[in-house]
Amino acid sequence: MAQDHPHDHEHLVGQVPSDPALRIKALESVLLELGLVDPATIDAWIETYETRIGPHNGAKVVARAWVDPAYRQRLLADGSAAIAEMDLLGVQGQHMVVVENTPSVHNLVVCTLCSCYPWPLLGLPPRWYKSAPYRSRAVMDPRSVLREFGVELSPDVEIRVWDSTAEIRYLVLPERPPGTEKMSEGDLASLVTRDAMIGTARVGPPSTRTP
């Protein structure tokens, strides 16, 4: 287990099918034959992240924090405990920290070393979050990154970039947009986008919201 066999590497890349569909089908078939996987369990995991878990979970947390000042305080003080209240912790998101955007502070979440992301709250990460352009530039040049997402920040705004190097997962609490004072918690949640909880977008007012 502890040993590495460098020769396996070239072996692997050079000898397995070059088409990823064939390669992964072959792996699945062998594991099935060996009893190392149950296909129904594969389906159950897929179904969980394709339908049950996604940014709507994080949006619920954000909306709750917007309408309930005491919850907001608990959320910022101990993200895991406050999210556990809503029964939204889970794998790749047991140790949660929530960071709050304000008029003078903008937060941005990245994982430069791989693609760590708060699955229970946001689902599986989008392709760009896992990409080299985002991972390489978010820590060094967050303003150019944000510009590519259409977010232009004043030079006065302090940017805080959170590089997810451990098992702590970060969620951005976006600013509540103006004109939403009378909206219900459920309607507010529908305004909150995935990118706003990563920090690559703001939450727009209801009329101008884009998906």
Binding site: L12, E158, T165
Partner: protein, 219 residues
Amino acid sequence: MNGIHDMGGMHGFGPIAPEPGEAVFHETWERRMFGLRRAMTSPPGFSIDRFRFLRETMPPAIYLTWSYYEHWYFATALSLLQAGMITIDELRTGRAAAGRPKRNDAMRPADVDHAMRAGGKFARAVNTPPRFSLGQAVAARNLNPTGHTRLPRYARGKRGLIHHWHGGHVFPDSSARGGGECPQHLYTVMFSARELWGGDAAPNDKVYLDLWESYLDPT
């Protein structure tokens, strides 16, 4: 290891390409690889840290060419090869060799919800008191191990302040090599962008990293 995965602070990868209305999976095989990884029986001693480390050992040109779930394939297949649980012929042909015993202990569908809710907890008790206190000035060590580490190159040798103490957490550098969890105190350390990137960075910008105690020195 100072691998191609350690990308923070690199130029040259081009524009970010957000995809409006992106689906959770782009290809059927991505969906299968995801489900397979979550559902399968891993080799003894396997961990998320081992999984990450194996991805890091991909030949760099392959790392940059293969997409995310192909990285998962690589690390999964390599872990099984290294444990002797699969052969290269089986990976190539998709057929188990004749006479291989069949196990009967794989995760069941009914286990998924619990695994999703309860899995992935890495906080551990550490018997020693934390070495650093909130607000303390620290420097990230200049470590260049050939094994797995979660101290990115861009932070090494740089000075920051202890922003938060998370208690004890599994130490990935050990866990990734099968050396046990060896938990250590984990801290969030705040670095100014100028400390990391020099005088052209915005004066107020910050970068926060989660760093284990043995990555840090007092200054």
